[in-house]
């Protein structure tokens, strides 16, 4: 900082411009507080002091004069412990949750200790302490600039005029409102989807910060939100299945658009001939993991992300419909045949199984271990093989088979003589 810039040291230039900026903001009478932390000013270079960083002026109202006095007092001389300073800066803020905290880091060099400024910056954001630091570099070369990419937003000030500009941009950004618009995109990439519940989580702690039901304005544009620009968010759109966007960072002082691809279509489940009330359920599964995404009742409509799903309908026997397509922007109907009713009667108790043939193999559909008298079972239309063995005498040979044909919405009576 002792290098010269137009005949004066960089430090002198920076000091003067910073003082001007603070005065100018002060005059606007906004609810803004300043604090001043300085690094590399206590120990001479030879001491290689990597803990040379000090909060010279803590946050407080109307402390501009104190800041100016401190700046006037300081002599640049030591190392550049940036990571350490950012780490300590976390404790400089009061912890009031209403405030938006920002750090403006002014430097003319790279980290000179072994600290990791990226990690320190990440920690500040993860803990929602401050916005990504604004870095104003005083004539850094491109490699040195690149080292700040992960720390925050870098502004290069190669000369005093550019420094003043950068400082202005940084401060006005930090002060403006941050707005967010969540665009729920349909299959054509239009922000046309809506009415979806959204949860905003703190990406670091996982705590849920906002629950909102998405809406569009009368103009059709998505509604705008005012969100805290500090820290990172994970956003869940509670579609079926949910869509998650991780580590969303907002640009402070800007209108941020977060676009989520949620093209959706409706699935409507019906029984052929619409026989009225049914407690029939359909499991809608992810075709890859086979996990249930939703259990949908028949005669209802539910909205899904466009794509393919495995449907499993809890009829007897179950109907499995793999890779059923839900087309976006449409009502996709799935209709199952009405079940018929099997009535079985016997004079003698026994064990009775109901089987169906699938690709030449018998599959068990239902079984009564202690069948007696009369039983009723609703089955999908088709041919069933009833296998019955009376329990009276213990002979396998007494196993009997009866073919029963079930028709939709009709009864079939079988007497096991």
């Amino acid at each position: 900082m002792k290098e010269t810039w137009e005949g004066r040291t960089k430090f002198e230039v920076a000091r003067e411009l910073l003082e001007k900026a603070i005065d100018s903001i002060n005059r606007q009478n906004k609810p803004i507080e300043f604090g001043l932390r300085v690094f590399g000013h206590q120990s001479p270079r030879e001491l290689k002091n990597c803990e040379d960083s000090r909060l010279e002026v803590p946050f407080g109202r109307n402390n501009a004069a104190e800041v100016r006095a401190a700046l006037d007092r300081i002599e640049p001389k030591g190392y550049t412990p940036i990571a350490y300073s950012l780490f300590l800066a976390a404790h400089d803020f009061s912890g009031s949750s209403d405030a938006v905290n920002a750090i403006v880091l002014i430097t003319d060099g790279e980290e000179s200790c072994s600290g990791d400024p990226c990690a320190s910056s990440e920690a500040l954001r993860n803990r929602r302490i401050s916005l990504k630091p604004y870095i104003i570099g005083l004539g850094l070369d491109p490699t040195e600039q690149a080292a700040f990419d992960c720390v925050g937003d870098y502004y290069d000030a190669a000369d005093p005029v550019r420094f003043q500009e950068a400082l202005g941009v940084v401060i006005s950004q930090a002060l403006r409102n941050t707005t967010v618009q969540v665009n729920l995109l349909d299959h054509l990439g239009r922000a046309a989807e809506s009415d979806v519940e959204l949860t905003f989580y703190d990406a670091y702690t996982g705590q849920d910060l906002y629950n909102l039901v998405h809406t569009t304005l009368r103009s059709g544009a998505p509604d705008t939100l005012y969100l805290d620009p500090v820290g990172k968010y994970n956003i869940d759109a509670h579609t079926t299945p949910p869509v998650r966007r991780q580590n969303v960072e907002l640009v402070a002082g800007r209108h941020n658009i977060i676009a989520l691809d949620v093209p959706q279509g409706d699935l409507v489940l019906q029984v052929e001939g619409n026989p009225g009330f049914t407690d029939l359920k359909c499991l809608v599964r992810d075709p890859e993991t086979h996990e249930i995404l939703y259990v949908q009742n028949f005669n209802t409509l539910h909205r899904y992300l466009a794509g393919s799903y495995n449907l499993e309908i809890l009829t007897l026997p179950r109907i499995e419909m793999d890779d059923f397509p839900i087309l976006p922007g449409q009502v996709n109907p799935y209709v199952v045949p009405a079940s018929g009713r099997l009535l079985v009667q016997t004079n003698e108790p026994g064990i009775l199984g109901v089987f169906i043939k699938r690709q030449q193999e018998l599959v068990r559909v239902y079984e009564w271990r202690a069948f007696s008298g009369r039983e009723v079972l609703d089955l999908q239309p088709g041919e069933y093989l009833l296998v019955f063995r009376p329990s009276r005498n213990k002979k396998i040979d007494n196993t009997r088979e009866v073919l029963a044909v079930i028709y939709p919405a009709k009864s079939t009576t079988v007497r096991l003589e």
Binding site: L212, I351, K357, E367, K394
Partner: protein, 483 residues
């Protein structure tokens, strides 16, 4: 778990130990006839209502009449040997019920020099009382041509009448290998794929050992090394065709004891895979697995309909022997119940093998079901769904799983709204269900716990108007929530 289980056939002493043909042939065939006459030789075919007619057995004798059959073998020609053995057998078979025979010859129409690769004809077709005709034809035939085995096999498909329940058998007598450039294996596969043929037996007359393998794809191959062996070989073949065979299936518990029972067993005939029998397993009065008779011309693919099913890829059946198959089928019982109030709606649980999400069974609450012992996952269709992992079912034990009664919550809203009920799982919100947007009361059964309802009036076009309300559901209670 439909994985293959090794099948083991225990060989007990044959029902009839036979040493000499001349003496024993009659005895054993008489035994067969006796069984046949007793009725119920074979179990009911699938799809028939009990006690219909037993299946017809149709045996096609496919006899080589090529030039080489005139070679001297023992006391006469090879043709004479074939003639004698068939005459004897035909007489015996005329006594058997539900059995028809036919005769197809090959190599008897053209001379060797003509090289006729289509030299085969059905000489006596299947019909009742044709036994004398078969004998007469065998006496008349003059061997002279070549050996078009593949052609003869292909033609024999048309010889069997269309009858899905019949047992179609070919008994082939040959002294040579295919002389035309066709593949008998291919032809036999074709017959099987069309379900024409159940089984073929090939009797070789003094065939060189290196030729035996050629016939293995056609069917069971028996070589009569000397003239004196021929009658014995034919008897073995007929025994396989006509006897019935005892099979016992031992359903083993975890201690390898045959104590599991009351499961249906499906037998699929091999080759072909057609369903042949269903038997509900039982233990007889001695507490041992009861036996059944099965058709020995087939091997079987066995499926035991436990949950999940257990199958044995191939049960090898030795005719006239006491066959035992051991199938591990140890079972435990899962009982699902609810604590306190029962549910006012039908509650079901999906049962998976642990780790899998393929539904094995859907079990109603307040019911019991047997499963193979092992570990299962349950997914219970409450709101929210409950997933229970690794429930262990043990041999002969009833494992009870009970869930708390739900609370009933009525959501009351006078305006159209958009909203959902959420639960927090590991800090993450999961949607439990969506509210019906229409302005009406909606009552939902929820499992006890803490929930949030997040909603917004539909006409209120501002995300900031979203409201979040927490509520607690206690078991067996009813409550209402005004939105």
């Amino acid at each position: 778990m439909t994985g293959a289980v090794a099948s083991r056939t225990e060989t007990l002493p044959p029902l009839n130990a036979l040493n000499r043909y001349r003496k024993t042939c009659f005895v054993s065939l008489a035994l067969v006839v006796g069984l046949g006459a007793a009725g119920g030789l074979f179990a009911q075919p699938v799809g028939e209502v009990p006690a219909s007619k037993p299946p017809t057995t149709r045996i096609l004798f496919l006899v080589d009449a090529s030039r080489s059959m005139t070679d001297i073998w023992g006391t006469g020609t090879k043709m004479a040997a074939a003639r004698e053995v068939i005459s004897k057998i035909v007489d015996t078979l005329s006594q058997v019920d539900n059995l028809e025979i036919g005769l197809r010859l090959y190599g008897h129409l053209s001379y060797q020099s003509e090289y006729n690769c289509q030299d085969s004809r059905l000489e006596v077709g299947f019909r009742a009382g044709n036994h004398q005709a078969v004998k007469t034809k065998m006496n008349e035939v003059k061997p002279k041509g070549i050996t078009p085995i593949a052609f003869a096999l292909a033609q024999s498909a048309k010889d069997f009448p269309e009858d899905p329940d019949s047992r179609n058998i070919i008994i082939m007598i040959t002294d040579g290998v295919e002389s035309c450039n066709r593949d008998p294996c291919y032809e036999i596969e074709l017959l099987r794929s069309k379900n024409v043929l159940l089984r073929a037996f090939v009797i070789g007359l003094a065939m060189e050992p290196e030729t035996h393998g050629v016939f293995s794809c056609i069917g069971d191959f028996y070589n009569a090394g000397a003239r004196a062996d021929l009658d014995r070989v034919m008897e073995r073949v007929l025994q396989k065709v006509l006897s019935r065979t005892v099979l016992r299936v031992d359903l083993l518990d975890e201690a390898q004891r045959p104590l599991e029972t009351d499961l249906n067993m499906s037998f699929y005939g091999l080759p072909g895979g057609k369903l042949r029998y269903n038997f509900y397993h039982t233990l007889n009065d001695r507490g041992e697995p009861d036996t059944v008779y099965v058709d020995p011309i087939l091997d079987y693919h066995l499926v035991v309909h436990s949950i999940p099913p257990v199958s044995v890829d191939k049960v090898l059946i030795e005719s006239n022997q006491y066959n035992v198959v051991k199938v591990p089928a140890a079972q435990g019982t899962l009982r699902l119940g609810t604590l306190g109030n029962t549910f006012s709606y039908r509650l079901q649980a999906l049962v998976y093998q642990t780790g899998s999400r393929e539904t094995l069974n859907v079990q109603d609450f307040n019911s019991e079901q047997r499963y193979l012992t092992g570990k299962y996952d349950l997914e219970i269709l409450t709101l929210p769904r409950l997933v229970i992992r690794g429930i262990a079912l043990e041999q002969d034990k009833i494992t009870t799983f009970e869930i708390p009664a739900p609370g009933y919550v009525t959501f009351v809203h006078a305006h159209e709204l958009i909203g959902s009920v959420f639960t927090a799982v590991d800090g993450e919100r999961e949607e439990v269900f969506q509210l019906n947007p229409l302005p009406r009361n909606e009552t939902i059964a929820l499992q006890p716990g803490l929930y949030q309802v997040v909603y917004r009036a539909k006409q209120n076009r501002s995300m900031r108007s979203t409201q979040t309300r927490e509520f607690e559901v206690k078991p067996g209670t009813t409550s209402s929530l005004k939105l």
